[in-house]
């Protein structure tokens, strides 16, 4: 049997709503850290990553609506136009939900290759709106999508680890 499949079917704790909200909250906080200069250009979009994780792993719980609401808050925090992040995250969540079975078939490294185009598309949606309104595109912005895709593996490992039940409760 394919070891990847076994890994996928490992028993995880059911994702409680509070855990989902907490993970999104941490991602939002990471996004709002004062990044500047090159760090800003390379900044991965943690919110997009966590949204994508939940959309691919729990598509019935976290969907396009949640992504949209998170996007609206991101718009207020970033002083971007209302709907700019919301549009980007909507596209991302749609990609995640439609491809969630496919993505879970692969191991983590192959998953990041699947995640990258989705992130790129969402970044492109954001940049396209900016281009329509302001008339130019900062190309280094797209570096962030590549860095985000690279972070997919560690982030998934982390979230899976947090969802894994403790082996023996008496050990503690």
């Amino acid at each position: 049997m394919n070891p990847n499949l076994r890994k996928d079917q490992e028993f995880l704790l059911p994702a409680s709503t509070s855990f989902i909200v907490f993970s999104l909250f941490v991602a939002v906080m990471l996004n709002w850290l004062p990044w500047s200069g090159w760090a800003l250009a390379l900044r991965p979009d943690f919110v997009a990553l966590v949204l994508l994780y939940w959309c691919t792993h729990k598509p019935h719980r976290i969907g396009i609506g949640t992504a949209w609401v998170v996007g609206i808050f991101a718009d207020v925090a970033d002083a971007s136009l209302f709907g700019q992040h919301a549009l980007a995250y909507t596209v991302l969540a749609f990609g995640g939900i439609v491809l969630h079975r496919r993505v879970q078939m692969f191991d983590l490294r192959q998953q990041s290759l699947h995640v990258f185009p989705m992130l790129l598309l969402s970044y492109a949606a954001y940049a396209a709106v900016h281009w329509q309104v302001r008339g130019y595109v900062a190309w280094e912005y797209f570096l962030g999508s590549a860095v985000s895709a690279l972070l997919w593996t560690p982030m998934t490992i982390l979230l899976q680890a947090l969802r894994r039940p403790r082996r023996d409760p008496n050990e503690l």
């Binding site: 850290l33 792993h57 549009l87 302001r134």
Partner: protein
């Protein structure tokens, strides 16, 4: 485990495609309304107040690091800095003394010439709460808002020059668009000869450009550009930028002039918000009335014919 179940689209409300279309249209509608009209500003303010505490929370690590750095500063560093500041103070004081004489003279001359007196602008200190996290924009947030009577349009500067302009005001925060923001225009004068022009931000943090200047324009490298105050937004005589590079190519109608902002646009924590805007005499006519007056003129011309 609901992962293993089939995704039954129609049992679970609208299909993903329907949701995608709905939320995309909603976003686009919001985008359109936000880009064209001002209706959503109040909603934005409400949401901004909700997320304000969290935003401050994210600024904490940086602030704490700054405080720790100050704590570990050595005595010798402080002594050198103190000596440097004292020297600077002496130099400034001497200049200030001369300045007051010149100022008195200027006031007198202006009275004699019956020109309007130059006003002093009240200023208030504000600290940078955090810098914009969007690579497309050159913006930052300062920790004073409408509770401290900050108004949109007010000018923000540091000790060396203009940093930007307040573009949006929240209760405890204001958004400042930097002069280096792409296509942000500041009307200026060349300090050396009073030549008027407009300097534009380039979107790059350390670059601005002086556009639409003829190849023969009297601008040399090292010229300091100060605000002209003609627009009624910027108070006059605040330093903005310094000319760094001039390319005069006769093939082009305009010279390509590059400047760097004088203010430490990305360096300081404390900024000054200039709260008094210059009061200018009213505009002779708004665009609508000018259209009307044009019509009247045409009628008059016709009558003359």
């Amino acid at each position: 485990m609901d992962d293993t179940r089939t995704l039954r689209f129609f049992n679970r409300g609208p299909s993903p495609v329907a949701r995608l279309v709905f939320f995309c249209l909603l976003s686009l509608l919001l985008l359109f309304v936000d880009a064209r009209y001002q209706y959503l500003e109040s909603a934005r303010k409400v949401l901004a107040v909700v997320i304000y505490p969290f935003q401050r929370l994210t600024a904490l690590p940086g602030e704490t690091m700054g405080r720790i750095a100050v704590y570990f500063e050595t005595q010798s560093q402080l002594l050198t800095e103190n000596a440097r500041l004292r020297q600077q103070h002496d130099a400034d004081a001497a200049q200030l003394a001369q300045m007051s004489v010149v100022l008195a003279e200027n006031t007198q001359l202006r009275t004699l010439q019956e020109l309007k007196q130059r006003a002093d602008y009240p200023m208030q200190m504000a600290e940078i709460a955090y810098v914009e996290r969007d690579i497309f924009k050159r913006k930052l947030f300062v920790d004073k808002g409408s509770q401290a009577n900050v108004l949109p349009g007010q000018v923000v500067m540091d000790d060396m020059g203009v940093v930007g302009q307040v573009t949006r005001v929240y209760p405890w925060l204001s958004e400042v668009t930097l002069v280096t923001d792409k296509d942000h225009a500041v009307p200026i004068q060349v300090l050396r000869n009073g030549l008027r022009a407009v300097v534009f931000g380039s979107g790059d943090i350390s670059e601005m450009s002086l556009r639409y200047m003829p190849v023969s324009a009297d601008v040399v490298e090292g010229d300091v550009l100060v605000t002209s105050g003609i627009d009624g937004t910027y108070p006059p005589n605040l330093p903005v930028a310094k000319v760094t590079k001039i390319e005069r190519d006769p093939a082009y109608p305009f010279a390509r002039i590059t400047c760097t902002p004088l203010a430490g646009v990305d360096r300081h924590r404390a900024l000054l918000i200039v709260s008094g805007l210059p009061t200018l005499p009213e505009h002779p006519a708004t665009s609508e009335t000018s259209a009307e007056s044009e019509r009247v003129n045409k009628r008059l011309k016709r009558r003359k014919q």
